[in-house]
């Protein structure tokens, strides 16, 4: 299908004529179907978060997000993300460096294993740590004897969050680094730059936008994770309750407006993430190789 054999028609006009393939009626019908589908499954749920959050007025909203348990949940969510995300940045960069810059056997297997957490139910991602560190888990008795708490405490929340967000950074960086090749780094090395200098001055600046993109998605998932942390947290108010878990408790206690007030903060985070993500795709689309298929 070489371009030489194609009739000489400007590309734009070909597009437009093919876009007129369907009759106006069909086109309007398809657009209407899409819009109704999105209204039912996206727009209304999102709008309802903010409507329900404000249902009892501004004072109730402010009280719901400033009460001590809510504040503790917000702090805990930020703390967990502040540890899990940098961990995944380091591991993601290391994985991308090994996979994208070198040729070795078993590479495809390694990529599949890094992606594995995406195919594991969040609940199972939490369960595996309970089985290891819980009271009846493999290391449970030893941990108890040494008075170390992992399950129903901060360490398990962090471990479960790292598990579910493990692939995000690596899978954005790998395709981008692969497409860049190794020529820049080789040139810098031949010119006498030290390995770390090459990394910080050549590699990292080259991939900064896809790295930021991966971190953005990683952070959104880390702060919003529910299933995995629900299993390991024990949901002790003020201590091991993250924001999503706090929302669940409030909701189950029929404090709907308060639940939606806290939920509106996370929905706001989701909207900010979406805006930044769209901006990055629009501005640096060529560099963010995986943007269309995560």
């Amino acid at each position: 299908m070489s371009d030489a054999t194609a009739p000489f028609v400007p590309a734009a006009s070909v597009r437009r004529s093919s876009a007129r393939g369907e009759s106006v009626g069909v086109r309007i019908a398809l657009i209407a179907v899409s819009l109704v589908f999105l209204l039912l499954f996206l727009a209304l749920p999102l709008a309802s978060v903010f409507v329900e959050a404000g249902a009892k007025g501004w004072e109730a909203y402010r009280a719901a997000i400033t009460e001590p348990d809510a504040q503790a949940a917000i702090r805990l969510t930020l703390l967990v993300a502040a540890i899990a995300v940098p961990f995944n940045i380091v591991v993601g960069i290391a994985a991308a460096w090994a996979i994208a810059k070198f040729e070795f056997r078993g590479k495809n297997l390694l990529i599949s294993l890094i992606d594995l957490p995406f195919s594991v139910s969040p609940v199972i991602s939490g369960l595996v740590f309970v089985l290891l560190f819980g009271a009846q888990g493999y290391f449970g008795p030893w941990l108890q004897a040494h008075d170390i708490k992992i399950i129903f405490a901060l360490p398990a929340l962090i471990l479960a969050t790292i598990f579910v967000t493990f692939p995000f950074v690596a899978r954005e960086l790998i395709p981008h680094m692969q497409s860049l090749g190794t020529a820049d780094e080789e040139a810098a090395l031949t010119l006498g730059a030290s390995p770390w200098r090459v990394f910080f001055r050549v590699t990292l600046p080259n991939v900064k936008w896809s790295l930021f993109y991966g971190v953005l998605l990683c952070n959104a998932r880390a702060m919003g994770e529910f299933g995995a942390v629900a299993v390991v947290s024990g949901k002790i108010r003020g201590l091991t309750n993250t924001m999503p878990l706090h929302i669940e408790i409030l909701y189950n206690e029929y404090m709907g407006a308060a639940a939606f007030a806290v939920a509106s903060l996370l929905a706001g985070l989701a909207l900010v993430t979406l805006v930044l993500k769209t901006f990055l795709e629009w501005r640096f689309g060529d560099e963010i190789a995986a943007s269309r298929r995560h």
Binding site: L127, G137, R293
Partner: protein
Amino acid sequence: MTTAAKSFRWREPSILPGFGLALGITLTALSLIVLIPLAGLFLKAASAGPADIWAVATSPRTLAALKLSFMGALIAALVNAVFGLILAWVLVRYEFPGRRLIDAAVDLPFALPTAVAGISLAAIYAPNGIIGSLFAPFGIKIAYTPLGVMVALIFIGLPFVVRTVQPVLEELQSDVEEAAALLGASRIRTIFKVILPPVLPALMTGFVLAFARAVGEYGSVIFIAGNVPMVSEIAPLLIVIRLEQFDYAGAAVVATMMLVISFALILSVNLIQAHARRRFGDV
């Protein structure tokens, strides 16, 4: 670095440094966070003994939960395949006001925390909610029934089909369509014989991704499901319930069954796709 290159026989030599360090960090983290914990799960399930495993695996409650999770995920993925394809088509081919905004909004389920999605879906699909109240007069309950489970699973799987099909539609050569039209094919025939076949592999991939995500989904489902045992109780919830009863082995067996079934399904679809690619070429 030459000594390192020699000791790693299984890789191509390179003048770049840091392979050992980078791979070491990756494998250590991967093993500690993902592989060893998952191995522990399988070990725990196996340690229950054949009789107990069989009892858990064939108990009506386990089977009902697994059936709901897998059938619900299947139906939701089918719905997403149909509407995702239409949505991708509309976004790629038509110009209309708000198209870019909608294009960006499709990713909302990726960004919105599942617990937030769960309570908002429950609120609007409940009998007194804005959508639920439309169906209530006809005696149709959506929230707190298996139908509610599907609503949540459709929500979280929505972006997958759109995002896998969209790039393929964008790169489709329009001259083939024109040729089909010039040769006298009707538009419907052109769509089914010319446009859809090359899109099919991507559609299949999106379907599998949406399905895999929906099978394990927990947060967005439990608020809208009603969670009645045998009726609207999904498999991940059953795992949580078993854990809360300190039945670690029972939880591990249900979890292992979920993982084995979904990996087997994903693997077989990948094999079918690889086979199709070999036969029909990479499209």
